[in-house]
Symmetry: C2
Subunit: 259 residues, 2 copies
DNA sequence: GCATCATATTGATCAACATCAATGATAGGT
DNA sequence: ACCTATCATTGATGTTGATCAATATGATGC
């Protein structure tokens, strides 16, 4: 799966006519990284880009591996090149909730780096992932040298705040069923494809427990809710990490109607 | 009440030796505004400060009055000089929750101004308030002319995101009782004073319904919970907007212990 | 292919909170 | 000071989702 995604990434840069760059810089160069356009480094000039590229470290990580732990001091910033990274917050009783998911093209840990505060969440790899690390001294140089970086982080922070505000409102006002549907729709938008025979097919990239942590409910409640969704004909679950939505409109209606 | 707060504000600037400035600029000048140090305008040089001061509009507003409505386009930024402004989000059923409170020295509506998106919440005056309005064209000039302003807004946004993340986690993990205690502690920190006879006395600056909207619970649940807190000896409620905490440690323990 | 361990589901029960309906208290206007 | 409208409290009841315990399913190693 990871291999496929990486190949896809490589092919894309070739297709875009950057084959010489790709050769010159190697397949893992930030210069040719197809995800960079989605990050705060998108407007970097060559000079700064090369700086990042020289000093970055990149690793392939497996599900369960940790980028940083709640309480750690920030050492730098992480870029998700491929895969999926969850930010998890543990409470006093050892329960955890997934605060957000970080998809490819996202920088993780910028908030604590910029505010110089300890990590509030742990960052945990949820799927085979390709992660780049950029040390805080480099980020500091970028912020001082490239004004666009500060602006991008401001935009990013504004967006994160908006998303959190929505999540905050959602968790107080709507039911587990509607929230689960919402999470499934997010997965559908990212991983979905239309099979004309059965409907909109997509992967659920996390285990049931993490799906529960994402919705903010107990795993048992998620089981019961998925069963109900199947009974209602809204979503089929042919496997524990597969889902099919026969009719998107039914789902939209249900999210709106349900509490 | 408002009068008292405004007098207090005036006196403070006099006490701080700015009596000439205050005379020169009038009691409502941004130049001498004691709240400015808390806002994103704190590092402004005289030139920009005068610009703000010339173009700002200020008004005294009463509880229930609206600064802006959910869905409106942003026209500028609001500074809370005195009083209290709540940001309220309405859901489809007409229920509302208070997403955050804005105390004196806070700018309101910066997020939508900077991201050029419609207001996601309504801003509603909760106590007699003194509010200044700064048009977006002025804010634009400040951001372009004074680099500190952009930095301040970045810091502000990072902090708001952190607060929202905490609220998000809190609402999913802890009980109404603990959340209510937390909200009461916030009021205590801001409005509290120690009376040696009875304990820590403070005002609750909002009506019961809004206290409920702040905790994210039904007003009836707040009633029952306050009753329980009295029965447990944690908090006394001698009036609907007054509270007394006999022993802070008991409250801290209860917040920690309760779910 | 089987044993083992983790993960997922199901059932039964319980606690927390919402809702509805009724009553009691409070504040603002005349 | 009274009237009225709004706000707060209380009680009765219903719903949602958590928890505990048991079973089932699936994955991994040998």
């Amino acid at each position: 799966m990871l291999i496929n995604m990486m190949l896809a990434g490589c092919l894309r840069s070739v297709v875009h006519g950057e084959i010489f760059m790709a050769d010159e810089h190697g397949p893992n160069s930030c210069v040719t990284c197809p995800r960079r356009q989605l990050t705060e480094w998108r407007n970097l000039e060559t000079e700064h880009l090369e700086l990042v590229n020289r000093h970055k470290h990149d690793r392939i990580l497996k599900p369960g591996e940790i980028l940083f732990n709640q309480g750690d001091e920030s050492e730098g910033i992480y870029c998700v090149k491929d895969g999926l990274v969850g930010e998890r917050r543990f409470d006093a009783e050892g329960h955890s909730i997934l605060v957000r998911l970080n998809h490819p093209g996202t920088t993780v840990g910028y908030q604590e780096l910029l505010s110089k505060t300890p990590f509030r969440n742990s960052a945990e790899v949820l799927q085979d992932s390709h992660i780049c690390f950029i040390n805080k001294s480099i980020v500091q140089q970028l912020i001082e040298g490239a004004p666009s970086v500060g602006q991008r982080f401001l935009r990013r922070s504004l967006k994160d705040a908006q998303d959190l505000e929505d999540s905050f409102v959602e968790v107080q006002t709507i039911s587990v069923k509607a929230r689960l549907l919402h999470v499934l729709m997010i997965f559908y938008e990212r991983y979905g494809r239309l099979d004309p025979d059965v409907g909109h097919v997509f992967d659920i990239p996390v285990a049931r427990q993490d799906l529960a942590a994402l919705v903010g409910a107990a795993p048992e409640t998620i089981s019961r809710t998925t069963r109900q969704l199947q009974a209602d004909g809204l979503v089929q679950f042919p496997g524990v990490r597969k889902a099919i939505i026969p009719d998107l409109d039914l789902v939209f209606d249900a999210i709106g109607a349900d509490t």
